[in-house]
């Protein structure tokens, strides 16, 4: 077994035992940011003066309607920028959320996302006091020109200070980073990553810069004002990131996520393992008892629906067996070490994965892109050479499962 593989397994092993298969997770979405970053296609909005109190009230009202007594095993407060809320409002949100769901007693992991410019002492303290035990800081880059190009509103120094502040108050800290900025010097990327690791974080998310439909960056690229990096260089940086993280004891337990042993993000693991979760807030998605649903995205529309006493749902879908199986593969194959537990995929979808995927599965295994683990609890996972082509693999599986 290669060193990187051992690390991957170690990182995945610990929290695996701490997530119950019949447990539920809670996601809370807060859509406001100081400004909208150019690469961002999330349901987030530059704040334009609307009442944050009113929005938090709506979120809590939805929680009362949909998550009362949920007792989640993990909680993730994401956005947008949750740290954009003033400290007292943040404290109130957490306290009332606990009253409604009882998360402080039930959840082993409570993560909050924060951006460097707003993660001050007061908010950090309010988060810790409210039960948050893990923070995820949006660092993205430590280079001023890159931060400017993304339209980030903080400096590299502010980001490093935010990481230090987080380390002082929280046992578990993640840093979000983006690589493959056009023309990025691989050496510089390595230095940035090492500076972040040196601050004692236990988790890093390293995303390749992507051009999502509708973002400012995509429009700039299409207009010829922004160049996309050569795919070969993006791939080389991906490999460099894997290797560097492995050297520092961070296992790649998901395509873009690296953690020290036992420090994988349990909440995200719940998504990747197709466990149930309830999403509260504008645009939040849920997967509960075989149904996928998504809330209204626009904060105003969301608030209005909740205030009117209505369910703020935008769309809901009860997935058929083939779709359920595909979703389980789509999420699970992102985990190179643990992959998809075939028995569980069969249980939730009612389909035998090997039979449903037929010859295509054999082909993918034959081509060395996927592999089956030996032993009784069989898992299907992407190989080292398959992982970078996961979308191609999934497209082929989709063609069999949903022709």
């Amino acid at each position: 077994m290669r060193a990187s593989q051992r690390l991957r397994l170690a990182a995945a092993a610990a929290p695996a035992e701490m997530l119950r298969e019949d447990g539920r997770s809670l996601y809370v979405h807060l859509p406001f940011c100081t400004s909208k970053c150019r690469y961002c296609d999330f349901n987030s909005y530059a704040w334009s003066g609307q009442s944050l109190e009113r929005h938090v009230r709506a979120v809590l009202a939805e929680a009362r309607a949909r998550a009362a007594g949920l007792r989640p095993q993990t909680v993730f407060i994401g956005g947008g920028t949750p740290s954009f809320l003033p400290a007292p409002l943040l404290g109130e949100l957490l306290q009332q959320l606990d009253e409604v769901t009882g998360f402080r007693a039930s959840a082993s992991e409570v993560t909050m996302e924060a951006n460097p410019e707003s993660f001050d002492d007061a908010r950090a303290a309010a988060a810790a006091a409210g039960g948050v035990n893990r923070v995820s800081i949006g660092v993205q880059s430590l280079r001023a020109p890159v931060l400017r190009a993304y339209d980030r509103v903080h400096s590299a120094e502010t980001a490093l200070a935010a990481l230090r502040r987080a380390r002082a108050l929280f046992a578990r800290v993640n840093a979000d980073l983006i690589y493959a900025f056009p023309g990025q010097d691989p050496q510089e990327w390595q230095e940035d990553l090492e500076s972040v690791l040196a601050l004692g974080v236990d988790h890093v998310s390293c995303y390749e810069l992507s051009f999502e439909p509708g973002t400012a960056l995509t429009r700039m690229r299409d207009a010829g004002r922004f160049r996309a990096e050569e795919p070969e260089r993006g791939r080389a940086l991906f490999e460099r990131t894997r290797a560097l993280c492995a050297r520092h004891g961070f296992g790649q337990y998901e395509v873009s996520n690296y953690a020290r042993a036992g420090a994988a993000c349990r909440h995200n693991l719940a998504y990747w393992r197709s466990l149930d979760y309830v999403g509260i807030g504008a645009g939040a998605a849920s997967w509960l008892d075989g149904e996928r649903r998504k809330n209204l995205e626009l904060p105003e529309a969301y608030e209005q629906a909740v205030r009117a006493g209505k369910d703020p749902v935008a769309e809901a879908e009860r997935t058929d067996p083939a779709t359920t199986l595909f979703d389980a593969l789509m999420m699970g194959l992102r985990l190179p070490a643990e992959g998809v537990l075939l028995e569980r995929a069969r249980r939730i979808s009612g389909l035998d994965p090997a039979a449903a995927c037929g010859a295509t599965l054999d082909e993918l295994i034959g081509e060395g892109l996927l592999e089956l683990t030996p032993g009784p609890a069989r898992r299907l996972r992407a190989t080292d050479s398959g992982l970078p082509f996961l979308d191609s693999i999934l497209t082929r599986l989709l063609a069999v499962l949903r022709p």
């Binding site: 996601y27 395509v255 998605a285 849920s286 979308d391």
Partner: protein, 602 residues
């Protein structure tokens, strides 16, 4: 109009013109004068009966209409036979003209003589018929009838003093045109007591009545109940109805010498009727056929395949239906390694191909992949026999034949004098042989080049337009086959020959064409997980190579937030894109790539 006119008071004529020179508008005026059209119900250019014709402003099928006009107190029956306006249909034009004793050569007084003016005038003059030049649109401020009179004399050797001037739009001068038709065009000649001989100059399919045959009686007469025979196709029918177009079909007792009208005789398929055929009486001695009948020749061929293999039978049905209205369309089943089961389809020319394809997609809603068009080639086999091939893949092994002949056409190019250099260069690059240069006027010239048809069917017209700032027009005569040093250029994708991509081209051009095709494929074929070798070969020799680099990475970087439906939809899109591709071995090729062979990029 139930009465019959004696031949001396009948005039059969056509209007021939370049596109947009006002033919349909003038025809409308004639219809008004002849009382055939209720002015309140008048529809612009009512002779063009197909949507596509109206949309494209061209006439695809001939039409005919009977009018009664009064000149000097005397009634005359005018049969106006409309003709298609495009070179693809020149055989139909020729047959329509053959049904007439005269033609109005309509020329836009602002634009002057254009390529189709020349081509159509040549067709008419070759038939030895009366040609009356008419300058239309004289009301336009930039009309220049004096210069055009000069062009008429220089290019067509017609006497400009005989030319009439009118504006079909305002009606100015149209009465004089009507008078000229009566006075200058001779009445039809023919023997009323001889056995029936009639020219079939067009036919169309009617859903309820079967095939309607358009005919012109030369000798004798045709009546309801007659037993008739088509000499060319050797078929006999009993006449159910004869009549005239007013322009609606109106049944008549009989059609006599010189008369133009229709016949219905329980004919099921349009393919059973051939334009140019001679209709005679089934009884008595066999009559002499009228001159000039021949089978229509398909000069452009391409493969048409369903995107979904399961649509093959639907495609067959759609082609059958199309052929009901378009007897010059031919098709035969074909298989391709890459594209599966489809049809090789033959067309009269490029325009005919475009129209047929558009109708196929519009009327059947089947997604189709079309391969690049090719001309037919005549291969002289070692055993002395000649064989026509319609697809590059049908070319036999090089050791089995001694010669390949390609269609070559005499091409007339009319252009402003300052673009001669650019057009001469274009023609010589396309393997043209210069024939002659004639001056139409001090500013315009007509060049005649012999050009291989294969060189014209890809982007020649666009290049002509751009070399002449849009002012150049072209037309060409019927092709003849001529030997040339042609080779089959094979394209290999990842080592496998892609039959649908191979072409026949001149040996000297093979390198350049090969490189251009590979460059284009490089752009059109998406990256795969392995490197793809692209090769162009002549015989066993590789003459060009390129490669498509392997995919570096294809995995969504960021996938959290739990919105799984959205992520699945993105993959769903990739999957659908993949579905529409065709496989060449392990390589998936988008449909657009099959037109790569049309690429001339360097």
């Amino acid at each position: 109009m139930a009465r019959n006119f004696p031949p001396e008071r009948i005039r059969n004529f056509s209007i021939i013109a370049h596109i947009d020179h006002g033919k349909s508008t003038l025809a409308d005026r004639f219809l008004e004068i002849g009382g055939a059209v209720d002015p309140r119900k008048k529809m612009e250019q009512m002779l063009d009966s197909m949507d596509l014709e109206r949309e494209r402003g061209i006439t695809i099928k001939a039409a005919a209409v009977a009018l009664v006009v009064q000149v000097d107190g005397q009634d005359y029956l005018l049969n106006l036979i409309d003709t298609p306006g495009h070179v693809d249909f020149s055989y139909e034009v020729e047959k329509s003209l053959q049904a007439c004793e005269g033609a109005l050569l309509l020329i836009d007084a602002a634009q002057g003589i254009q390529a189709q003016t020349v081509a159509n005038a040549h067709l008419a003059l070759n038939q030895d018929m009366t040609v009356i030049p008419v300058f239309n649109k004289v009301d336009l401020p930039h009309a220049r009838p004096e210069e055009i009179a000069e062009e008429l004399e220089n290019v067509l050797l017609l006497d400009p003093s005989q030319a009439l001037r009118c504006s079909a739009k305002t009606g100015e001068g149209v009465r004089e045109v009507v008078r000229a038709v009566v006075e200058r065009i001779p009445p039809p000649k023919g023997d009323p007591s001889a056995p029936l001989r009639a020219l079939v100059f067009d036919a169309k399919h009617d859903e309820y009545r079967g095939v309607i045959v358009y005919l012109r009686v030369v000798d004798g007469a045709i009546r309801k109940g007659d037993h008739v025979r088509m000499l060319g196709v050797e078929r006999e029918y009993e006449v159910e109805e004869v009549g005239k177009f007013t322009p609606k079909m109106a049944a008549h007792e009989r059609l006599g010498v010189g008369e133009v009208g229709y016949m219905i005789a329980n004919i099921k398929r349009l393919g059973d009727v051939h334009v140019g055929d001679t209709l005679t009486s089934a009884k008595g001695a066999r009559a002499e056929p009228l001159k000039g009948y021949r089978e229509p020749q398909s000069m452009v061929w391409c493969g048409i395949y369903p995107v979904n293999a399961s649509d093959f039978e639907h495609l067959r049905t759609a082609l059958e239906e199309l052929k009901l209205n378009d007897s010059s369309l031919v098709y035969e089943p074909e298989t391709s390694d890459a594209l599966g089961f489809g049809f090789r389809c033959g067309f009269l020319g490029l325009l005919h191909m475009e129209i047929a394809q558009e109708r196929l997609e519009r009327e059947s809603e089947i997604d189709i992949v079309q391969t690049a068009p090719t001309v037919p080639y005549e291969v002289l086999l070692n055993n002395g026999k000649a064989r026509m091939i319609h697809a590059p893949g049908d070319l036999p092994d090089g050791s089995l034949y001694s010669e390949i002949r390609e269609p070559v056409v005499a091409t007339h190019l009319l252009l402003p004098i300052d673009s001669i250099g650019a057009v001469m260069k274009l023609c010589s690059e396309r393997r043209g042989v210069f024939q002659k240069q004639e001056h139409l006027s001090p500013t315009r010239v007509m060049l005649t080049w012999d050009l291989p048809l294969s060189e014209i069917i890809f982007d020649f017209y666009d290049k002509l337009k751009s070399s002449t700032r849009g002012y150049g027009t072209m037309d060409y005569d019927l092709p003849r086959f001529q030997a040339a040093d042609l080779v089959k250029l094979r394209i290999l994708v990842a080592g496998e020959e892609a039959d649908a991509l191979s072409i026949i081209c001149h040996r000297d051009f093979a390198d350049r064409r090969g490189r251009a095709i590979l460059k284009k494929l490089q752009k059109e074929i998406p990256r795969h997980q392995f490197e793809i070798a692209l090769q162009a070969a002549v015989g066993g020799k590789i003459i060009a190579r390129e490669s498509i680099r392997a995919l570096a990475k294809n995995v969504t970087a960021k996938c959290y937030g739990g919105d799984i439906t959205r992520k699945r939809k993105l993959l769903e899109k990739q999957k659908e894109g993949k579905k529409r591709m065709k496989s060449l071995g392990r390589v998936e090729v988008p449909q657009k790539a099959f037109l790569a062979v049309l690429s001339t990029e360097e």
